[in-house]
Symmetry: C2
Subunit: 262 residues, 2 copies
DNA sequence: TACACTCGTCTCTTGTAAGAGACAATCGCT
DNA sequence: AGCGATTGTCTCTTACAAGAGACGAGTGTA
């Protein structure tokens, strides 16, 4: 099942100089566009991925021809293209878990009115694969494709369940342990949390990503013991014990349902 | 607005021999997976894109590491990966027309019960960008991402509106003019159809792709005169004149609504 | 047991693509 | 008008990736 889950540290980190393989440059370009989330000029792009201008022009040209990128109408800025959308839909079609997971998440947020998300590991990082906003007046931050440090989330604790301490260390950088408000988690505590979450079969974190929400998560298994994804709910931090319990029950039920036929 | 709309003939066609650029190989690999629509062994993949085995292993390795492809659990076969899905969602988010178009198509098929589609040009080919099945017992062929020769479709006639005869010829191969049942269209007739569709503001074709359906299409404009997409309905060929008229009216209305804010 | 495969991994060579840099054309700002 | 920054295109060199092919291990079948 080796997928794109390389250690987040990305090893060499490449001093950037020297000749870089074209394909790698392309991968960096795509990743860069993914982070900027908007069309960008080719010059800026070259600077952004730290590649020579001439090379960038050639590569972007190829990608535009292939339809992976599209040129904005101003004839300068580029962003993702239709072809990537089509490939993405192919992925969804070939992936039962994702297809059904999206459905369940949408249902869940409609039924509960809370923000609901489907999360997975992607290249060793926690990724919100699908999100459904819920009906609360305050829109809680949660965009599809968003990547967040594992230790900030309840889902992260579940996704790492079953891994050894060494593996966990490999996937968590020092920066990841620093919360948005500046507090720093201890790695030991994080490892302990993971073990606890594993036996509990769910996980709740309060006020980690921000001070006003808590996050409830339940694991989705692809095989006994193997956590493939998590479903989670983001609720106001003052949600009552009782309702929190209900929601966790519901969440675990739905997550278990997803696990069955995977 | 130059996007991936290169002429379908693909010019050189490359005799395949010799050294091929890694990036191009990758693009072929992606396209190949898109046509097979399922995971495939690396050996077969190499054969399929007609690339050396050793090269294919290296490239697939990179793509899997990057998360663009994922290795099936059997450790041999590969298919599209999560990252492509994420990039695809980025595309949707950055593309008002597509986002709203998907919505309208879903609405339309729910309201009418007929199969509805959003279509665009992609790399010079007619592409079903989004499809919603409708409620009829017979499921009409229509999968997202499917690519069909332009002359087979009503949408194709609208998408080429405004192009000169030379451009049209460039985008249509001889094979494209041969219908699934073996009949061959004359290029002149096709060009005439396009002109007619343009002034009419909609297009209907009967029994082209198969003998039992007709296809109603209306244009979506991104700028005055520029057809960016089409919405279409696929209905049984014996649908009454009256209902057909109603549906066309509805279709044109929705397509026009899409055009406004583009 | 031998045969004909496919698979994953390696090594070595050489054709070529990545990159440096120069260029004219625009753009924006005093 | 004058200046600096940016944009798209081009040429030339050489570092290096694509490819050929060999290898042993595994798999199926006669």
């Amino acid at each position: 099942m080796q997928d794109g889950n390389a250690p987040a540290v990305s090893a060499g980190e490449k001093i950037s100089g020297s000749r870089e393989k074209g394909l790698n440059r392309v991968l960096e370009i795509l990743e860069f566009l993914h982070t900027t989330q908007r069309a960008i000029g080719i010059g800026d792009l070259a600077r952004g991925v730290n590649a020579p201008r001439s090379t960038t022009y050639t590569l972007v040209g190829s990608l535009v021809d292939a339809g992976l990128l599209e040129m904005e109408s101003d004839g300068n800025r580029v962003y993702f293209g239709k072809k990537l959308y089509l490939y993405g839909m192919d992925y969804v079609r070939g992936n039962d878990l994702l297809r059904r997971g999206r459905q369940e998440v949408d249902n869940l947020s409609r039924e509960t009115g809370e923000t609901s998300e489907l999360c997975m590991l992607q290249s060793g990082r926690y990724t919100i694969v699908h999100a459904s906003p819920g009906t609360r007046p305050f829109r809680i931050s949660s965009a599809t494709g968003l990547q967040i440090p594992l230790p900030w989330t309840a889902s992260g604790r579940l996704l790492l369940a079953g891994l050894g301490r060494a593996d966990i260390e490999g996937m968590v950088s020092d920066d990841d342990l620093v919360l948005p408000d500046g507090r720093k988690l201890r790695l030991d505590d994080f490892v302990t949390d993971i073990a606890k979450a594993r036996v509990a079969g769910y996980c709740v974190t309060s006020g980690l990503v921000d001070a006003y929400t808590k996050c409830l998560a339940a694991p989705v298994f692809s095989a006994p013991g193997k956590v493939e994804a998590t479903m989670c709910l983001v609720v106001p931090i003052d949600t009552s014990e009782e309702r929190t319990g209900e929601l966790i029950g519901l969440l675990r039920d739905r997550a278990a349902r997803l696990s069955i036929a995977a």
